[in-house]
Structure formats: C-alpha cells, structure tokens
C-alpha cells in the first residue's frame, strides 16, 4: 500500500513537472514568427513514417544507424513493459499481464530483453565512440562543456535502465523458480541461487523502482537535453518545409516595393507598407520562424551536418550544428528571462514583460558571428545530412538578410557585385556587350 501511494505521488509529481517544462518549450518555440504550413499532408505523414519512425536518413552511415536502431527499437518496445509497471504501480499487483497473456507474455518480455541486450551493446559502443575513440565530430568547439556531458549522461541513464530491468527480471525469475522463462534472465537468475526469498524480493523491488525512477528522471531531463529529439523528431519531420530545396522564401514586401519602383502592377496594392521601420531577415528568435526554433529543439547534436559542411571541413569557423544549438540556447535564454517577469527585460518598462514586450539588449548575433554566416556556400549538404530534417541553412540566410537589408552591412567585397548587378545587370562590371561572344562563333 505504501508503495502504491508512493508510486502515485512520484508519478504525479514527475509527470506534472515534465508537462510544465514541455509547455515552456512550446512557449519558446512559439516565440518564432508564424509560418504557414503549406503543402500536402500525406507527404508530411510520409516524412514522419520514413524519416522519423523509419530512421531512413540514419542509414547513410550504416554502423551508427544499426546501433542507434537497437536503442530506438528497445526504447519503443519497452513502453509495453512500462505500461505494465504503471498498472502494477497503481494497482499494487505484480506482473498484471502475466496471467492474462501467459506464453505470449514470455515472448514479449523476452523480445524486450533481447533488444535491451542489443541496446546495451550499442550504448557501450556509443560511450566508447565519444570517450575512447573520440570521433572528431563529437569534440568540436561547440561540443565542449554541457553538450559533451549531456551526451554521456544520457548514455549512463540508458545503462542504468537496462541494468534495473535485468535486476528486476532475474530476481523475479529466481523467486518464482524460473516459471516466466524470459530468454535472457534465465541465464542471469542462477546468480541469485541460494539467496533467500526476502532478499530476492528486495532485489526485485530495487530493479522495479530503479527502472521506473530512471524513466521519470529521463522524462524530466529531456527538456534540458539534446535527448528531446526522441519526441520532437516526429513533429519536426511532419512540419519540415516541402517547397523545393532550392527556393529561398520570397519576400513579398520587398518584391512589391521593387515592383512599385519599376512601375509594375502590384497585387494587393493599397496595403502601403512603410519601408523605413521594417526589419528584414532575422537577428533573433523572434524574427526566425517557429519552425526554425522547433528545428533547434529537435537537434540531437550528432554533427552530421557539420561533418559534411565544406566550410567547416576546410577549417572555417562555420558549423551548422553550432548555428542550430545557438538558436536553442538563445530561445532558452529568452524563455528564462521571460519567466523572471522582471521588467528590466521589457521594451516598455511600464508594461508587463511578454514576448511582444521584450528587449534584453542581446540578439542571435551575440551567439553567432558574422564570420560564421559569411562562410556558408549554401551547398545544402547540412540540409541533406540531417536525420530529422532540420534546416540549418535557412536561419543562416535569414541572418544574412538581416545583416544586408536591415543593417546595410556585410562583406565589403560584395558591394561591387551588388553595384554591378544593379547597374549593369551582370555580376561583373564588363565593358563589352553581353552577346559579344556570338561574334566569335
């Protein structure tokens, strides 16, 4: 009875706290601008099925893909066991599905056990890859400090989850004369031979409680971790832009302004926009789209984008992963400041602090340097590489737009190009005619 009460209290508290944290993340994502979701819903679901659920893009790198798949499938299927733990925890029963399912129960739990072993192998391999083999993409500048620790904490928690599952199952088997017949635990239960029933029960309870407590800890750890991708990968693939990859979002305000200048008819004319006070592109989370921010929260910092970035490969400062991580960090910073309700962060100090009334004197440019955004070749390798359809290129181009259009700054060498394009209609200022080459045919 005490265990039941305790379980309900802990479950309630951890679920409740997690919900609060997730609502904050939702709020932070919505700090970004509205972006209409255009395109075919069926295609969006296809992306969710193939890319998020089916892990399609992971398989461009076979070994990590298979190892990741072990952990992923084990995670998904363990939810069945988690369901039982919940029912047992609330009702005070023990293995409630066992009498109902019988042999099938043995099969399901055995299946989970096999996957747990595979997941353990994968987890150890991943720990080795980060800490022993020191794979380069896990040790770049943006991975120092918290991101590096975060990755290891997740893997340790996974080891703990698996350890507790086997402690629970094997002690339980030893207590019940191996009647469950779980495929892996039957080899572990002999470890407990000669142990008294009382101690076995305690061990089983440690396994049970240990497992569920780590699950609750994990749930509340997600909002602060790159591990959030296990949830957000799904909406992120669903909401991924379906427009052609090569199409940069049009800017109707500027198009209409230029149409006016050229004397072309403007659709929706009359909606005169004052161009002087407009800001173009993005310099902060507020001027990115909510999808850009969702991207940032979906990132698991695997670094596949950075490992194929031509600028990064040749030693430039740009790292697409860092851009994405910076956006999340900035969104988090704004979120935390909003939570303080402190009007020192308000634009209008007389009004309450809100997303619309926020000014802390900082922007994304405090996180991302000009040098980084100037190094991008827009080659789309990062976009192609992301296993969950994050687009690191879009925010880079929005920052460039801000720099050029709102600040009138940018690399000085681009000025002659802009001038030449404006004055001569060509990227180079040439003294000959455009069709001069014809005469040499």
């Amino acid at each position: 009875m005490i265990q039941q009460v305790l379980f309900v209290l802990i479950a309630g508290a951890s679920l409740g706290y997690a919900v609060l944290q997730f609502l904050k993340i939702r709020r932070n994502i919505k700090l970004g601008k509205d972006e209409p979701i255009a395109g075919d819903t069926a295609e969006r679901w296809r992306n969710v099925l193939l890319i998020a659920l089916g892990q399609k893009k992971m398989f461009t790198r076979m070994i990590p893909a298979v190892l990741h798949l072990f952990i992923y499938v084990a995670f998904v299927l363990t939810q069945v066991e988690l369901l039982e733990i919940f029912v047992d925890g609330i009702s005070g029963q023990h293995r409630v599905f066992w009498p109902i399912l019988g042999g099938f129960y043995t099969f399901v739990i055995s299946f989970i056990e096999i996957l747990s072993v595979l997941a353990l192998v994968a987890t150890i391999a991943f720990l080795a890859r980060r800490n022993v083999l020191r794979v380069a993409r896990f040790h770049q500048p943006e991975m120092k400090g918290w991101p590096f620790k975060d990755a290891n904490y997740i893997l340790f928690l996974e080891v703990a989850l698996i350890f507790f599952i086997f402690l629970m199952n094997s002690a339980d088997m030893a207590r019940h004369n191996d009647e469950y017949g779980f495929v892996v635990s039957q080899f572990l239960s002999p470890i407990w031979s000669g142990t008294g029933d009382g101690l076995l029960h305690v061990l089983e309870r440690i396994g049970w409680w240990g497992h569920i407590l780590v699950v609750f800890a994990f749930l509340n750890y997600l909002p602060f971790s790159k591990h959030l991708h296990i949830i957000l990968a799904f909406p992120n693939t669903f909401y991924a832009r379906l427009a052609p990859r090569g199409e940069m979002e049009n800017m109707p305000e500027i198009m209409n302004e230029v149409k006016n200048m050229l004397g072309l008819p403007v659709e929706n004319a009359g909606a005169e926009v004052n161009m002087d006070n407009l800001e173009f592109g993005a310099n902060d989370v507020f001027s990115l789209s909510w999808k850009n921010v969702l991207d940032a929260y979906s990132c698991t910092e695997c670094g596949r984008c950075t490992s194929v970035c031509p600028a990064n490969l040749t030693g430039k400062k740009l790292s697409p992963r860092k851009i994405v991580m910076d956006i999340r960090d900035r969104a988090e910073e704004i979120g935390k400041k909003l939570d303080t309700k402190d009007t020192q962060y308000a634009k209008d100090k007389a009004q309450p602090l809100s997303a619309a009334n926020f000014e802390d004197g900082k922007s994304l440019f405090d996180y991302i340097s000009r040098e980084e955004i100037h190094a991008c070749t827009t080659c789309n390798a990062c976009v192609e590489a992301c296993p969950v359809l994050i687009n690191p290129l879009e925010p880079i181009l929005k920052l460039r737009r801000y720099e050029i259009l709102s600040l009138s700054e940018g690399p000085s060498e681009w000025l002659p190009m802009f001038n030449s394009m404006e004055n001569n209609g060509a990227v180079w200022a040439m003294s000959v005619e455009r069709e001069a080459w014809k005469n040499e045919l």
Binding site: V383, L397, I404, G425
Partner: protein
C-alpha cells in the same frame, strides 16, 4: 553559325523551340564562353531552333539573393520575368545550375512560370533520342573521367543521373569521387562565395575538392557549372596538375565526340 536573339526572332515573327539562358558567366567569363559556344554548336548541329535574350538578359539575381540582398535580387528577377513573359517564353535551357535553380524554383513566386531544364538534361534527351550521334571511338573512348556534382544541380535539384548518362555516351571510364551525388562536396563558389575572399580557415574548399578529384586518377574532371569549372581548374592548378588533368564542361566533351554534319 548564327545565334539569334529573341528580339531578332520576334521581329521576323519566329518562335524558337527553346530559349538558351546564357547567364553572366556564360556571357562574360572567357572559360565559360567556350561552354556557351560548344552548347550552341550542339544545338545548331542537331537543328534545334533556339534563341538567346542577348543584351536583354540580366543576372538571375541568385548571388545577390543568397548574399542576403533581396532588393537587388528582386530588381533583376522582376525585370527578367518581364522580358521572358513579354516574349511568351515557355521553355528554357541553361548551362548554369544557379540560373537553372533560380529560374525553375524562385521565379514562379514572382510570376515567371517556365519549363526549365539544365543543359545536361537536354543533352541527355538529345543523345537518347538519337539527335546527337556520337562518333565511333570518340576522343574520350576508354579515358578515365570523374564527374563533379554541382550542388545546385545535384543536391538542390536532385539531378544526378542526366549528367552521368551524358558521360556514359562518351564510352569513357567514369570513376566516382569518394564524395559524390547526395554527398558531393561543394566547389566553394556557391552562396556568393565566388565574389568574395574566403573566411579565415586552413584550406580553400576548391583545393579540397580538386585533391579528391585528382585522387581518382582521372585525366578529365567533368563539371556542369561555370563556377565549378573555374574553382576546379584553380584547384588543379594549385596542385600543379594543369598539364595532366583537364577540367571540361559536359557540353565541351560532347561537342568533341559527336558526329558533325
């Protein structure tokens, strides 16, 4: 051979089968001009009626847009759309994947809707339909060629097979670089990098790519983009291999090996 402008054609009341969008590089850059001429020769040989915009053509605006300068992009793009729509253009071919991308994917939002093909796609069609006939034992028979995917034709627009199928017609030995197709490495020119100095780093991107191309042992590097052409050529030169390894556009390879009338 006579290359007509749309203005000349319109004056005679004629309509070409296709508009050849030459682009800034194809018009002004000495190296890319050779590609322009080669492509015109191919079209002329197969008797395809085509025209250019000539002095009425402007930069599509791609580098300005990617640099962040939407004003300059709109200025040029809207004027181009005006010109193209004025001539009632339906189909466009271009030898530049940046022009290709902008015309195909970005002009529709500005009121310009055309069927746009890259010259590698048109070449593939001309070869497949037998309009371009290849010589028996052509210039490149048995030679080792490696193909460099441009980002804007490959990864951005998903065209990987057309240029390879064009190269297959040369009867040459196609060797792939380690990074190819979806994983192809940029030459370093895109996103208006062509028009500025590199940001500080350890190496130029084109050198990295040229080294990879040279590692295949191919004597010819085939490209489909005027900027890749320059970048790869510079990379090969930096490795002092310009006498052994040539960088060509697909159109140049085809014009050398096709049956002329």
């Amino acid at each position: 051979m006579n290359v007509f402008t749309m203005a000349e054609m319109a004056a005679e009341g004629r309509e070409p089968e296709i508009l050849f969008w030459v682009g800034c590089a194809g018009s002004f850059d000495a190296r890319a001009q050779k590609v322009t001429k080669a492509f015109c020769q191919i079209l002329d040989t197969v008797g395809m009626s085509f025209a250019i915009l000539g002095n009425e053509e402007m930069c599509t605006g791609d580098p300005a847009r990617r640099a962040g300068n939407e004003f300059v992009f709109q200025m040029l793009a809207l004027q181009n759309v005006q010109t193209l729509n004025g001539y009632n253009i339906k189909k466009i071919v271009t030898a530049c994947p940046h022009c290709f991308n902008t015309l195909k994917n970005e002009y529709p939002a500005l009121g310009g809707n055309y069927e746009v093909v890259h010259h590698s796609q048109l070449l593939q069609e001309l070869i497949n339909t037998g309009r371009v006939k290849m010589q028996e034992g052509g210039t490149f028979k048995g030679k080792k060629i490696t193909y460099h995917d441009s980002c804007y034709l490959g990864r951005v627009n998903g065209v990987y097979e057309a240029p390879r199928s064009v190269l297959a017609s040369l009867d040459a030995q196609l060797v792939e670089m380690k990074r190819c197709k979806t994983n192809g490495l940029c030459c370093g020119a895109g996103g208006a990098q062509m028009f500025k100095e590199d940001e500080p780093g350890e190496k130029r991107i084109n050198l990295e790519r040229a080294e990879e191309a040279l590692a295949t042992g191919a004597g010819i590097i085939a490209a489909n983009c005027p900027f890749c052409l320059t970048m790869m050529q510079d990379g090969v030169k930096a490795k002092d291999k310009q006498d052994e390894v040539m960088v060509y556009d697909l159109a140049e390879l085809i014009v050398d090996s096709m049956v002329k009338i």
